[in-house]
Every structure is written in C-alpha cells, then in structure tokens.
Symmetry: C2
Subunit: 209 residues, 2 copies
C-alpha cells in the first residue's frame, strides 16, 4: 500500500524528534548530536541514527546535525511542509477537547469544521470554530478540501459517519471511537485507544515494586 | 530502573492483544492462533510470538492459544489483575473528556477524583464524579490510595500540580500537558502528545500519493 515501508514506530519517533528540534531551534541551538536527540526523547543514539538512515545521509560525523537543516528534512519527510485540512465529527467532550487542542493547531494542520447531529451542540463556539449540523458534513469536506476526518462520535454512529467522510473525499480517518471501522484500502485509518497509556503505566508500576 | 527490560512498543502491543482477546472471549471463541491475533491487530505473527516469548511459553504448536488462558496471562503481565486508582487534575475540556472516557473506566482502573482550581468547575458532575477544589488533592490521593495522577492542566501549572501529586504519594504521572515535567526517578512518567497521531497520518498521506 505504501511507497515507503517504514515501521510505524519510526514515524512516531520522527515526529517526536521534530518536536524536540523545534524546541532546540526556539532556544537558539544550532547543532545537535544524535546522542543529545536520543537522550532528550529517551531512546538510544543508534536508534536515532537508524531512524534517520531510512531517508538518507544527514549530519556530519563528529559535528552532528544542523538543527535547522534536520528540522527541514523531518518536516518534509513527515509531510508537514503542506497543510492538512481536518474535520472533526462529534462535538461531545472529546471532540470539543480535540477542537481546541493546541497540538492539532500546529503548523501543518488546520481544523476546518466541527460537526455534530445534536441540535443543542450546533452553533456552539469552540475557539475560532462553530459546531455545524451533520447535513453540512459533505459540503464542508468538499469546500475546504478536507484530507483528514476525526471521528469522535459514539461507537454506534462511527461507521455511518466514516462512510460519509470517505464518500465526501477524505484520505484519512483518525478514529477515537472504540468501534472497529471498515474503510476502502486507499484510506489511511488510524485507531486511537487512549487507555493504552494507562496500561503502559500499569505494566511499569507492576514491575517496579 | 525496571526489573523487566521490555521494549515499550511490546507493552503497547500486549495491551492491544489483550483488547482483541477480550473481544474474542465475548464472541465465545475458545482458541486462537498467533496468525489470527496478528491479523486482527495488523502485525506479523512472528511479532506476536516474539512479544509473548518475553514472558514464557504460551500456547501449543498447531493448536494455538486458549483465549481464556492467554488473556489471564496478559492481564497479569500488564498488572491489570489489580485496581489502579486515578486522580485527574484539570477539569477543562480534555480532563472532563478523560473523566468520562470509557477506556479509563475499564477493569483495572478506577477514577477516584477530579480536581480543578477554578471555582466555576468545582461541583460540576462528570459521570459519577464531582469536580473538587485543588485544596482537596493531597487528601484525595492519600484517602483513595491514588497510584496514577493524570495532568490535564495548562502548561504553566503542570509542574506545580505534578509536584503536589508526587508529594502526596502517586507512583505514576500521565502528562497530557505540553510541558516537559521533572519527577523523581522512582516515579513512572508518561507524556501523551495526541498530535503524533495526526503526524503519522500526514506521513502516510504524503507517501501514498
């Protein structure tokens, strides 16, 4: 399916490296070693070098990476040198939280619409957005060329909403509902289960005592 | 730091396997192969066997795993055979969403308190919980033997709230704020950046065109 066969864990780490590099750049740091990147994100420096090696030769032996340059490469690799338009479907507690979540309003992402089928939620303001009715979903996806649909509706409505998003033309679905969704093979689907974070803590707490 | 040196990616997959096994058990399925587990969560069967091999010999060659038995093992491995008590600090949009999030109310986890310093939020109902003032934090952690503190306050308040949680006796912090937190080495810290999910989609959308 993908042109690049890059492990997902690598993509996740690249996005974490890019965040660290943004912090370093903001602090005025000009060069950084793989050891420094590794330490700041809690992996080995060999891992950092291996992750970057998928995409070519960066940095200079003994000198390290130029922060600006590496950040530029990572931005391109992650596809963040362009804007992805987002529609959130489901303006309940989680959908509303995501609509105002700072990390979803970073460079590269623009939330264009928040949709809900509950008349009590329609018209509600969420930062610079207004919740719109479900009937507007297809038009909004088309008008704003929405690439990514975020599904934060109850499990019972998740597949129907996903079908609407796919038919309207999104390329990717980020699913926060507990429902297993069916999408055509050309759609990028990512399921988020926030409870995994608690389970990782549970594991670590168990083996630390 | 840890008694077991298990890669975090493995722990994350184990928690996903355990969710799949719960689904299979609910469907009345009695045995499952590593191939079937692998396919349902999108990894290779070799990966499934490798992940499980850290913890011993499960399953029978040619027969597979007994769903009930493997689920029991995973539950113990992940530390979900006991209850972890949780306090959420910050009852804004994200904190409120997490307080009612179904995945945080699964077997193994119990949200015991939701705390905020905003008088307008104190007293608000969130499912079976009531938002309590910041002054109650230390007592609630002690009274309910809270193990896990979830930080959903603005970045500016995150370190102060974390210090209060640590001093009160939690063993782990789940940090949803964008702030890098300092904690003693004996505290399990996990930072959640929801924007990583969008970046993985961005990467996949970029290389699929």
């Amino acid at each position: 399916m993908k042109a690049y066969k890059i492990p997902e864990a690598t993509v996740i780490r690249l996005s974490i490296y890019s965040r660290q590099l943004h912090l370093l750049k903001d602090e005025g740091v000009e060069t950084v070693s793989s050891e420094e990147i590794a330490e700041s994100v809690g992996v080995s420096s060999a891992q950092v070098r291996k992750d970057l090696a998928y995409f070519g030769e960066f940095g200079t032996r003994g000198v390290g990476y130029r922060v600006d340059e590496l950040l530029g490469h990572l931005t391109k690799i992650l596809g963040l040198d362009q804007q992805w338009n987002i529609a959130i479907v489901g303006a309940g507690k989680l959908g509303s939280a995501l609509a105002v979540y700072q990390g979803f309003r970073e460079r590269g992402f623009a939330i264009k619409a928040v949709i809900d089928n509950d008349p009590d939620r329609v018209g509600q303001r969420l930062a610079d957005l207004t919740v719109e009715p479900l009937e507007m979903l297809t038009n909004r996806v088309k008008d704003f060329r929405v690439n990514i649909g975020i599904v934060t509706v109850p499990a019972s409505a998740a597949q129907a909403v996903t079908d609407l998003l796919v038919d309207a033309g999104v390329g990717a679905i980020l699913n926060f509902s507990p429902r297993v969704l069916k999408v055509p093979a050309y759609i990028v689907l990512r399921n988020v289960d926030l409870s995994v974070n608690l389970k990782v803590l549970s594991f670590n707490l168990s083996y630390r005592r």
